[in-house]
């Protein structure tokens, strides 16, 4: 056996854990090999030295330090346990389900409301919205007030408008307020007015008339009578007109005040025409920038439609001939009259 193999056995030889046969081999080799003999002596000396090393002792406060560290650590654990106290309140499953369901319902309703608010302005032009509102079922009254709250002044005006003369006075004072740059709906019809219109309105869209106003109608602001250019009428219509003239004259006296602008002029003239025919103006839109009325929404008995068209033809010319009444059973008629002004 060579020296390398013998040197691997020397460690166990020193510890006395080698079997008898290996002990004989090692002892025979060491007796003839000086290098291995020297290695064995060195290893034995080192092992002996290590065995007799004086043990290194711990410091005197070893146990005390252990106690300190344990207390510190257990205090920390206690604080952590207190901080993260398990949630012990038990909530019944039904209650949790009900709470979750109600939260979901509220969220969905809020979402729908916000969607509705976004869609509403894009749905239709303002004049159409106004006409459609009374017959629309979907939006609740709550939504209506929230999406488009009427200004107090306008509500007031709407209420007064049904009271003929007072309405005009209130309207004049309102028109003097600072102008806004866009076309605005002047007011929403009073619910009582809409209630009267509803039966006929539900039967169809309002009939639309487009009128090209004569220059003289809008030119003279202070003398309504002079401003109206009378166009010769056919003989057949003269009798009817004569009958209405008496009422009209009375109304003229009633409204005998000085108008200040085109808005009042035209509205005054329209009132002169409409009221004798037992009709009234429901809504009106006007261009505040140009200070003139662009369209009005009128309600009147269907039987007076022909007379109304004749009266309108005095203010200007129809862009297209007035449509004939298709539904003879209509009691009340709604009309949308658009005005075009001469440049």
């Amino acid at each position: 056996m060579d020296c390398a193999a013998i040197q691997k056995l020397l460690s166990e030889y020193i510890d006395g854990t080698l079997d008898a046969k290996s002990v004989q081999v090692v002892e025979r080799h060491v007796s003839v090999c000086e290098d291995c003999k020297e290695t064995l002596a060195s290893l034995s000396a080192i092992v002996e030295e290590l065995n007799t090393l004086k043990p290194v002792e711990p410091p005197a406060d070893f146990l005390e330090k252990i106690h300190q560290r344990m207390e510190l650590r257990f205090d920390l654990n206690r604080i952590l346990r207190k901080l993260f106290v398990p949630f012990k309140i038990k909530i019944p499953l039904q209650l949790a389900a009900a709470a979750t369901a109600s939260i979901l319902v509220v969220m969905v309703l809020n979402l729908q409301k916000s969607e509705y608010q976004k869609i509403q302005p894009l749905k239709a032009p303002k004049s159409e919205q106004l006409a459609e509102k009374p017959k629309s079922d979907h939006p609740t009254s709550e939504f209506k007030t929230k999406t488009k709250p009427p200004a107090p002044a306008l509500e007031e005006a709407a209420g007064r408008l049904s009271d003929s003369e007072q309405g005009v006075t209130a309207k004049r004072s309102r028109i003097k307020t600072p102008l806004q740059p866009s076309i605005q709906k002047e007011y929403e019809p009073h619910p009582s007015v809409l209630a009267n219109v509803r039966p006929s309105a539900e039967k169809g869209q309002p009939m639309e008339l487009s009128l090209f106003l004569n220059p003289i109608v809008v030119g003279n602001a202070h003398a309504p009578d002079i401003g109206i250019q009378r166009i010769p009428l056919p003989e057949a219509d003269k009798k009817t007109i004569e009958k209405e003239t008496a009422d009209k004259d009375a109304l003229k006296r009633k409204f005998a005040y000085r108008t200040e602008n085109q808005v009042d002029d035209l509205l005054f003239k329209m009132n002169q025409i409409i009221r004798p025919l037992n009709g009234n103006i429901l809504t009106k839109e006007y261009d505040k920038q140009k200070d003139r009325v662009t369209s009005i929404h009128v309600q009147m008995p269907a039987k007076n439609y022909a007379s109304f068209c004749k009266e309108l033809s005095r203010l200007g010319t129809f862009k297209t001939p007035p449509p004939a009444l298709s539904n003879q059973s209509l009691q009340t008629l709604k009309l949308l009259i658009n005005f075009t002004y001469p440049e």
């Binding site: 080192i46 065995n51 344990m70």
Partner: protein, 202 residues
């Protein structure tokens, strides 16, 4: 030598009683266990790490771990074997920690002359008859310590457990989790390495 190996195996009756008392919540019994085993454990940890302060910290940590897990002790091995296994693992973790490696790099100059806390042999005053002999003995101890600490970790563990702590091959196998053959070969290599490092100095 074999008597020292025999002495460490198996839990003594006193250990068993103390452990049962600690398991029942008796802190005094734990103190007694610490006082009984602290010297041998501290010596073991010191020779593993080679630094007195680190040994102190590691030995304390070992006893705290023992206290925390003593309820799980099933008396399947000797208490000392279980204690040393915890100590060896704690030392391994310490040696692996980046903080310890950093400290070893930065403090080496400070401890080269043997500081009070780093090297207990720097102030040894033993029963040597003459001051010259005491100085020689002190220098020899420092050389041995450096040689042992310079051994590879796996050889260092086995040499310390066998030659300094005097444990049997079987105990070393139980503590380290190595098989007997590995323990023997590592010990043989470690001793030869140590002989080469200390050649002509002992």
């Amino acid at each position: 030598m074999n008597n020292r190996i025999e002495k460490s195996s198996g839990s003594s009756r006193a250990d068993i009683e103390l452990i049962r008392a600690v398991q029942a919540g008796d802190m005094a019994a734990f103190d007694e266990l610490v006082l009984k085993h602290k010297d041998r454990l501290f010596n073991l940890v010191y020779w593993f790490l080679g630094d007195y302060q680190d040994a102190n910290d590691c030995a304390q940590e070992t006893f705290i771990k023992v206290f925390k897990s003593i309820k799980n002790f099933r008396f399947e091995s000797a208490f000392s074997t279980w204690l040393y296994r915890i100590a060896v693992n704690t030392c391994k973790n310490k040696l692996k920690s980046s903080a310890y490696r950093w400290k070893k790099k930065t403090v080496s100059l400070e401890t080269s002359n043997g500081s009070k806390n780093g090297n207990p042999f720097s102030e040894i005053v033993n029963g040597s008859p003459t001051p010259v002999m005491a100085l020689e003995r002190k220098e020899r101890m420092i050389r041995i310590q450096k040689a042992i600490n310079s051994l590879p970790e796996e050889q260092n563990q086995v040499v310390v457990l066998r030659d300094i702590q005097g444990l049997s091959y079987q105990d070393i196998s139980d503590i380290t989790g190595l098989n007997l053959g590995t323990v023997k070969s590592r010990l043989a290599r470690g001793r030869l390495e140590l002989k080469n490092k200390l050649k002509g100095r002992i």
